[in-house]
Each structure stands twice: as structure tokens, then as C-alpha cells.
Subunit: 175 residues, 2 copies
């Protein structure tokens, strides 16, 4: 039987499926965003947000939310929203989080690719990240590979839980 | 009697008083922000916002709101709020609007000076404007005189009601 059983590591290479989140996904979304919120980085969110507050933020009415599944497990989530109202509605903003145990599997890249395709399909003309913490080199490098450019630097705008005051970047790409 | 009567133009030079807004100021605040909202610029707000929606935005629980009075009339309003939560809470964001008939009286400058002093008193370390429309030269020039620098350029991020897609600037100053 051994040769027919799937090794546990197989899940790392299973196909990723990204789909709109439903309210039934809230427990999985919370399990992914809670460690990031409690860590106080890389997103500028209050570390003591309750589950309800965090889900109201991440899955709020102003956002479209997606989840990334691999081998039946939800391992990542992202949101998309207009970055500004009125004359700024043609630029979207997204935020991405992956489960701590799921790094290195291409999930962030897969969600970013999906978000860019979704944004184009929705008619957005550009995508903007308002606050990319400068110490988050892994993310910055990925966003640059995905076509984003640093268009602004906010000096000392993020108080990092271990590094103290560090810069944050504004990143942007026309779609 | 003529030499003792105050000419109407005198109001232009009357002292400005800036104070926290109360709910009783909502009608005056609405009369100031409505023309800006209906014009679709310079702030990126939906032009068809209702009075209730606009006041919920401008005077929302996340903001401190002030009004500028001159000769008993409310001629300007500004808000202050943390620009980000969590590790970004030490940077504030403000928005300023003056009544259409009150331009050229130094009200914008007075409110900006007041906001910088208030921000310092509140312990903020910096002030950021997220979305200064590049065609709003008068405001940009004033903000620069007040110590702000352009730290980012968002290409085509604002659809101006008459100029079409124009850049927006991110402006920043350490306090």
C-alpha cells in the first residue's frame, strides 16, 4: 500500500485554488490573520484587535475577500477594495496574508497574480499598496517581481515591534 | 456714525478662532464640505454622498474635528486622525476645507498651523497627507511653506472632473 499513499509533503506541491471567501470561511481567515495581528507586523493594525474587530476589518463591506486553498486547506487570504472613493476609485488596494506554516509555497505570489487579474477584470486602472514596511524585504522583492514600483517613502512611519521606527513604502503599478 | 460703523470688509481681517467642533456645528460643517463634495475635487469622495454620509465621514468617531470661526461665522473645518492603526499610530492625517466664499483670508494656513500644534500636543511624530491632487497648486504651495514635502507621486491616481487622470502626491512632515 505504501507506494499508493500520498506523502504528507505532497500537499506543498498541490494545486492552489483561489476563490471568493464566504462567511463560512471566517474561522479559517481568523486563524490566518490572528498571528499577523498579534505580531504587530507587517500590517499596521492594533495588536489587541478582537476576533470580531479583525474580521470586521478584513472582511468588511468595503472589501472583496478571497481565500487560497491547497489540498483542501485554506492557507492564505487577500482583500481588494477601492483605495480612494470618488475620483480615486479606479485605483485598488489589496492586502495579503498567508498562514505562518505555509510560507515558501508560492501562495503569496499566487494570490498577487490572482488579484492583478481580478483587478483588471473589474476595470481598475492601477493597484496601490499604501504601507509596505521597509523591513519586509521578502514581500517588497516579490511585489517588485510582480511589477510594483516604490513610488513613495514614508520616513519612520512604522514602529516595528523589534526594529523600532522604520520607513514604509508606497508601491504602485498601472494595470 | 459712519466712522464708527465696521465696514463689511472688516470681517476679512477679524481674528480667527479655531475650536473643537460639536454636533451643533454639523449644519455649518455640511455647508462647507458640500460644495467640495459636489465638485468632485480636490478630495477623493463620492460626489453623490448624502448629508448624513458626508457628516459620518467628516465627523466620524475615528476623527477629531475642528472649526475655524471669523467674526462669528464658521468658515473652515479640519479633521485629524491617526493615519494608520497599530505600528502606524504615531503619524496623523488631516483634511481641511474652507467655505468657497472665504478663500484668501488665511483660513487654510491658520487651520494647518493649528493642526500642526495640535498634533505635536497629542504626541504625534509626523503628519501625512495621502492624496494631494497635483492640480491643486495653491494647496501644494501652502503645504510646502508649512513644512511638508512631497514624498511620493501616484501616477494618474485621481480622475479630475475637468482635467481627467492626473497625479496625486503623498506629502509628509516630521513634527
Amino acid at each position: 500500500m505504501t507506494r499508493f499513499s500520498a506523502p504528507a509533503a505532497k500537499a506543498n506541491h498541490a494545486a492552489m485554488h483561489i476563490r471568493p471567501a464566504s462567511s463560512a470561511d471566517a474561522p479559517a481567515v481568523w486563524s490566518i490573520i490572528e498571528p499577523m495581528i498579534r505580531a504587530g507586523e507587517p500590517y499596521a493594525l492594533d495588536r489587541n484587535l478582537s476576533r470580531a474587530e479583525a474580521l470586521a476589518y478584513w472582511m468588511g463591506a468595503d472589501k472583496e475577500v478571497f481565500v487560497a486553498e491547497q489540498a483542501g486547506a485554506i492557507l492564505g487570504t487577500y482583500y481588494m477594495r477601492p483605495n480612494q472613493a470618488g475620483g480615486g476609485r479606479h485605483v485598488c488596494n489589496c492586502g495579503y496574508v498567508i498562514a505562518p506554516e505555509a510560507t515558501g509555497r508560492g501562495i503569496a505570489r499566487g494570490m498577487c497574480e490572482h488579484s492583478i487579474a481580478t483587478a483588471r477584470a473589474h476595470g481598475y486602472r492601477a493597484m496601490q499598496f499604501n504601507f509596505v514596511v521597509s523591513t519586509n524585504q521578502r514581500a517588497i522583492s516579490l511585489w517588485q517581481k510582480m511589477g510594483f514600483e516604490v513610488v513613495g517613502t514614508l520616513p519612520g512611519a512604522f514602529r516595528h515591534p523589534t526594529h523600532g521606527y522604520v520607513d514604509a513604502f508606497v508601491m504602485y503599478q498601472a494595470l
